[in-house]
């Protein structure tokens, strides 16, 4: 008996707590308004919504949202319930209603009402003190603007201080007014629309200028002229954004090509060896990143955001180690026979691909970005730069700097440059060329690993990852010439940007073909690439 009594008291306490909790987010609306919204005819409901919007009272939001989500039910003549799952709350008093009454009717929200509610909710959100909420609401409104929202927008504009929200609201207002009857208002609205840089505005303005047969839909010449001017302004701004976005993606592609080609340029410049397994070293770097990422997720999820700090050196080390092993076991024996090296390294790449397939499976693996790399930098409404790509551009810059320092400021770099220029002479002066070959091959392979680490952040990681990069990175080397970093940099960025612009013009496949043709023509003029070390051999 005692236990059940205690149980009952406990239950009561929980119920009280629940009641207090729901009262705290009570719908805080006058009972007549709620009754109107729940029981009234459509017109009465809309009128009630209009009043709520006009009052600008944020307290009405939860109830309106519930109404929109179909959670509001009525029972009998005057009980209005908000039902969430199995629990229900009295909308007027805010008290929990338990048990649920048997006979309940849904409050039907028809399309017209739904539209009104959506606009009303957005309008109310516009008066929220939270900037993010206001911004989201302004964006919402822009997509489905109703004339009913106009007073709310005006009210919000009067109070709004934030530039971005203001701009959005002004545009929305203009697009609503564009549809109104008053000519002056429409002209003003069209002028205001001229400040926009969204594709939606362009469509809107184009609609003003539409023709049916040879006759303009819009009868007024002044409105048309105004629209023409605004349209030109919007289109110019859109085009600038478009070009900016394309240049950015070109640079992004260029830096990726640069990372992929940098290692190849070193090994090719030094040894005249095209390492067909270079792409697979990139792939290994990406898989190393994947492994590091998985280990972090398993053992140190709290530090997940820092995994790239570990992944970068690990990817470098593993790819470099694999590269050195390849050099010692196979490539070393083929110096002076470049065509055979090509075939042997192709064989190595097949084995590496199949090896990774055996270990990790043929499917792509997912490498998750750390949180700070997701999202993007919005420089214009139609131009968003993803952080991951911005980070990779910066990363490529760092790698380039590091390679430059190694090549120009260290003894190893000095030897590498010497052997690149004249192997025989360097050897005669006491440089141990086989050792330099090995170190340089390791360095080039390690850079490939870094490229893989970067690639894993923006694309799929699979056994075939490297295959698509070998031709591209060799094109960079051919175009840039060997022996100088600057050539590789210019060639990579140039090819990247050219690729993106041609792609927009003619599609990805034709762009690739055009670039290939360009390179073939280019080598006619400059067989040594953009930057060549001057030498005196006939065979060059």
């Amino acid at each position: 008996m005692g236990t059940s009594d205690a149980g009952g008291r406990q239950l009561k306490f929980v119920l009280m707590l629940a009641a207090w909790w729901s009262a705290s987010l009570a719908f805080a609306l006058p009972a007549p308004v709620i009754k109107d919204l729940a029981f009234g005819e459509s017109d009465a409901k809309i009128e009630a919504i209009g009043k709520l919007v006009a009052s600008g009272d944020g307290a009405a939001l939860p109830f309106l949202q519930s109404l929109l989500d179909g959670e509001v039910q009525t029972s009998g003549e005057d009980l209005v319930l908000v039902v969430k799952g199995d629990s229900a709350v009295d909308a007027v008093t805010g008290k929990v209603v338990a048990p649920l009454p048997e006979a309940r009717d849904d409050v039907v929200v028809n399309n017209r009402l739904r539209r009104e509610l959506t606009t009303a909710i957005a309008a109310l959100k516009l008066s929220s003190p939270d900037r993010a909420v206001r911004l989201a609401a302004a964006k919402d409104l822009q997509n489905n603007s109703e004339e009913a929202a106009l007073p709310a927008i005006d009210a919000a504009l009067a109070k709004e201080n934030d530039q971005e929200v203001r701009g959005l609201l002004a545009l929305t207002k203009a697009s609503i007014e564009l549809r109104s009857g008053d000519k002056d208002k429409r002209v003003a609205a069209i002028r205001a629309l001229g400040n926009s840089d969204t594709g939606a505005t362009r469509t809107l303005l184009q609609q003003v200028l539409e023709r049916k047969g040879s006759v303009y839909v819009e009868p007024d010449a002044r409105v048309r002229a105004e629209a023409q001017r605004s349209l030109a302004a919007v289109e110019r701004r859109l085009m600038i954004g478009d070009i900016a976005a394309r240049i950015f993606s070109g640079i992004s592609l260029g830096t990726i090509l640069l990372l992929a080609a940098l290692g190849l340029a070193i090994t090719y410049g030094l040894m005249g060896v095209i390492n067909m397994a270079h792409g697979e070293l990139i792939m290994i770097g990406a898989y190393a990143t994947y492994v590091v990422q998985s280990l972090f997720r398993q053992h140190a999820p709290g530090l997940f955001d820092y995994y790239p700090l570990v992944a970068v050196p690990v990817a470098f080390a593993i790819s470099a180690a694999v590269g050195v092993v390849l050099e010692r076991t196979v490539i070393r024996h083929l110096y002076g026979r470049p065509l055979e090296t090509l075939l042997a390294t192709w064989g190595l790449s097949l084995i590496l691909i199949q090896g990774v397939r055996t270990i990790f499976g043929a499917q792509n693996v997912q490498v998750e970005n750390p949180a700070w790399m997701s999202g993007g930098l919005e420089i214009m409404t139609n131009v968003v730069l993803p952080w991951s790509r911005v980070v990779i551009i910066a990363f490529a810059g760092c790698v380039l700097l590091a390679v430059w320092l190694v090549l120009t400021r260290t003894t190893l770099g000095l030897y590498v440059r010497a052997v690149t220029q004249n192997r025989g002479m360097a050897s005669a002066l006491g440089v141990r060329t086989p050792r330099i070959d090995m170190m340089a091959f390791g360095l080039g392979s390690g850079i490939a690993g870094l490229a893989g680490c970067a690639l894993s952040q923006i694309g799929n990681v699979g056994p075939d990852l490297g295959q698509s990069y070998i031709v591209d990175s060799f094109m960079v080397v051919v175009l840039g010439g060997v022996g100088q970093l600057a050539g590789t940099v210019y060639a990579a960025l140039g090819l990247g940007i050219m690729n993106k612009f041609l792609e927009a013009w003619q599609g990805a496949v034709l762009a690739k073909i055009m670039i290939l043709v360009f390179i073939i023509i280019f080598i006619q003029k400059r067989p040594q690439g953009l930057f060549a070390l001057k030498g005196r051999t006939v065979e060059a």
Binding site: R337, W346, F474, I523
Partner: protein, 370 residues
Amino acid sequence: MLGFMPLAAPAGNFSLTRLWSGRLWGVLGAAALVLFVVVPIGNLAVPDGSVFHISDYAVTLAGKIMCYAIVALAMDLIWGYTGILSLGHGLFFALGGYAMGMYLMRSIGLDGVYKSNLPDFMVFLDWKAYPWYWSFTQHFWYCALLVVLVPGLLALVFGFFAFRSRIKGVYFSIITQALTYAAMLLFFRNDTGFGGNNGFTDFKRILGFPITAPQTRMALFMLTGAALIGFLLLGRAIVSSKLGRVLTAIRDAETRVMFSGYNPVYFKLFIWTLSAVICGIAGALYVPQVGIINPSEMSPANSIEIAIWTAVGGRGTLIGPVIGAAAVNLGKSWFTQAFPEYWLYLLGLLFILVTLYLPRGIAGLWSKGR
């Protein structure tokens, strides 16, 4: 370079015994006997179930391998004898195949899935008429001309620019690889008008004969055999001529050839174009036998595999590539069925071991043993 022994081929009056020793003519005769008598009888006349019956599968496989052998032979002319490694020969092979495929597609007639005059893929794309480059392809002889002209002209133009600016060695190899890669992307597009990634398939007849009939298959098989023997003879005639000696000299010391007053460009261009044409013909023979051609034939991996057939058999010999193509492809068709996961390991090892330890291939082993 590798320092191959110069092939015993004194210049002089052309005669069959100069071309090949009597013993080799005997071997060739025996091969012809097998191709044109034993296999046809074994496949068509000997009843199924007899120990002497040669199955359709075996005939198709052998026909396919002979096509590969022709390609390997073409590769050998340019790589083994002239020292230019092409990683784009799969492109010429596929172009020849596509040219023949166009004719085969046209001869499907109204028997396609959509019962249209157009190939199914064009109906699917909602095209109403053949694009201009499909004109006249209903005529067999026009397509046969394309088989030679398309790879030949492409090779001629590409080769002219490449050799003129003295692109050689690995540069040339990679550029040819890029060429076939770009072509593959182009043919993968549906808008290109060659069936996208499905390519051409479901052929019904060739020159009015049903394409799957045993007699048609045998005729194609024998034709392929004849082509292989013909190209072997042609290859022999070339490499034993003065032209062949210049080509070998270009391989071994191109600058010295230049200083001796020869312009290597035209020699290279000739053998390169010829090699491409031979590949195209091989492709044209290949497509009706296997019944499909699609852009994956142009993938860089395919082209580079051609090089390994030649390397395994032995560069700088004419019989080597034939042996190599047969050995690698027989091994492949057995291995990919028995241990599909390990085939790539084996192929990769083959690339490495052959280049490291067997630079003269199987044929080299034989001549060393003698």
